[in-house]
């Protein structure tokens, strides 16, 4: 029971990070029908931006207040990562729009390799670590000397994710930009006829996707305290699995899928074998694709045309 509770807490934390990344996959897929294979590496880049920002703040600027430092790091990561993703869309995907379907996909794989190699060359191939940003934990429950704890780090991740999801939901459901974005998802030609700048809307989608990934990247860095140039791949593919599991194109699906993948991975590590945790997560991808290809929240197309 104690182990279960503790793993539940850990799983939800990990799942929050996957969920934030998965939203980026699902949004981009929804609007241009492309799996953005570079998204995992965009997440990795954001963790490096956060790392650099953190070191600059603490070493040079001498900011000692952790909450303020964390906020600035978060803002810097969101800004620069959005900029990177905006440029990627401009340079690597937009010129290929209207080309054959695989072209942007191949370009995305190219961007993925470019990003991870760029970071490897400029930042070095080794793991980069930071001193722990946030320490301390709350003991929720103790049984036979086994404490169930919720660390402040985890609490921050939960809180930030929840706050972000609420504002993100508001953006998509209630604002003009969100409406334009959904309209472009459903019928770009019609959206343009109504005065929506489709190119700009697609750019904004990449910016939002990157901002969410940057929050995930900052949280990842804060949680594990270490990041490497290759960290884009595995979390990226797992978040992609989460998006597929939830039903690609569905925003609530991405969040639920992310949580499920996080939980599956953590419970597998706890009860079976930690060496095979990636196998467990990717088996979910295979099983979903075989038995439930539209995903949990995939839209059944009941449209009159």
């Amino acid at each position: 029971m104690e182990v279960f509770l503790q793993q539940l807490i850990n799983g939800v934390t990990l799942g929050s990070i996957y969920g934030l990344i998965a939203i980026g996959y699902t949004m981009v897929f929804g609007i241009i029908g492309m799996v953005n294979f570079a998204h995992g590496d965009v997440f990795m880049v954001s963790a490096f931006v956060a790392l650099i920002a953190f070191l600059v703040l603490t070493a040079w600027a001498g900011i000692s207040s952790i909450p303020i430092a964390l906020l600035i790091v978060l803002a810097a990561a969101m800004f620069f990562t959005s900029l990177v993703n905006w440029v990627i869309e401009r340079v690597a995907y937009r010129p290929l729009r209207g080309s054959f379907r695989l072209a942007p996909l191949i370009s995305a794989i190219g961007m993925s390799i470019l990003l991870s190699n760029f970071v490897q060359v400029t930042q070095g191939p080794r793991n980069k670590s930071i001193p722990p940003m946030v320490q301390g934990e709350i003991v929720l429950y103790r049984h036979n000397d086994y404490p169930v704890t919720l660390s402040y780090k985890q609490l921050i991740i939960w809180f930030v994710t929840a706050a972000l999801l609420v504002s993100f939901w508001y953006l998509v459901a209630r604002t003009k930009l969100g409406r334009a974005q959904r309209a472009c998802e459903q019928d770009q030609k019609m959206a343009a006829l109504l005065g929506v700048d489709v190119d700009r809307t697609i750019s904004m989608t990449f910016v939002i996707a990157a901002a969410l990934a940057a929050v995930a990247g900052t949280m990842y860095l804060m949680y594990y305290g270490v990041v490497s140039f290759s960290d884009g791949f595995v979390p990226g593919v797992k978040a992609f699995t989460a998006a597929v599991l939830g039903g690609i194109g569905s925003l609530p699906g991405a969040v639920v899928g992310g949580l499920l993948i996080g939980l599956i991975e953590t419970f597998w590590s706890a009860y079976f074998s930690i060496d095979y945790k990636d196998v467990a997560a990717f088996s979910v991808l295979a099983i979903t694709l075989i038995f439930l290809p539209q995903g949990l929240f995939g839209r059944p197309d009941v449209e009159k045309v």
Binding site: L193, G195, D197
Partner: protein, 242 residues
């Protein structure tokens, strides 16, 4: 006569190598209802879409309200208050009726929204009960009303309607045509109407054009065209059976 609101001069359009429009000339003046009739595949919808810049004309000039819009991107043309309810209605199926109407108001002044919404619901009262329903669940007639209503939400100076009567029951067709007449008379909206239902369209319109194979072959006052033997034989035989 004053300068036309919309003038199309020598416009040609290609889909790949296929030439869909072969030099079209056409004028629409402020306050008119102008109709374009022709058989399936004559190029009517292509002309509508070419006016809106998707696809763009290869040759020729399209002027709207004194501006050359031939090379403008579609969304910028929409910002000049040229609205279209296109072929197939193209309702956003997973958005509510209200959201569809809000999308129509993309280029409009937000302060006008409440008033414009009220006017659209006055014209099409059936949409009122459907506001919270998803566009994809509406009937064909309701979708057509929504498509026209959505186009109206931008307060268009020129409204392009592509086959609003297609697939609708005769009673609904009459309602739609009545709404178009009201819009023109009461709100002063200029309308360019593409129709296969030539009889209704020519009776409603001030002027009409006939398109055959990507070219305008006839033009004139609506009632006059109705009497022309070539129009009668080609487009009205079927209509009389209705």
């Amino acid at each position: 006569m004053s300068e036309p609101l919309l003038s199309v001069r020598g416009v040609t359009t290609f889909y790949g190598r296929v030439q869909a429009l072969k030099g079209v000339d056409l004028d629409i003046h402020d306050g008119e209802i102008v109709t374009l009739i022709g058989a399936n595949g004559a190029g009517k919808s292509t002309l509508m879409m070419t006016i809106c810049g998707n696809p763009q004309a290869r040759d020729g000039v399209i002027m709207f309200a004194g501006r050359d819009i031939t090379r403008l991107p579609t969304h910028e043309i929409a910002r000049l208050r040229l609205a279209q309810a296109p072929e197939g209605r193209r309702i956003f199926p997973r958005m509510t009726v209200l959201e569809n109407l809000q999308m129509g108001a993309t280029v409009a002044d937000p302060a006008m929204f409440a008033r414009d919404l009220e006017r659209v619901l006055e014209l099409f009262p059936r949409l009122k009960q459907r506001l919270a329903q998803r566009g994809g669940t509406l009937s064909g007639g309701e979708q057509q009303m929504l498509a026209i209503g959505r186009a109206l939400m931008s307060r268009p100076r020129l409204l392009l309607l592509d086959e609003p009567s297609l697939g609708l029951a005769p009673l609904l067709v009459r309602q739609i045509f009545e709404a178009i007449r009201l819009l023109n008379q009461q709100d002063g909206v200029t309308v360019f109407l593409v129709e296969q239902n030539a009889y209704h369209a020519l009776k409603l319109a001030h002027r009409g054009y006939v398109m055959v194979n990507g070219r305008i072959t006839l033009s004139g006052k609506g009632r006059e065209l109705l009497e022309r033997p070539e129009v009668k034989s080609a487009y009205l035989e079927g209509a009389r059976l209705q």
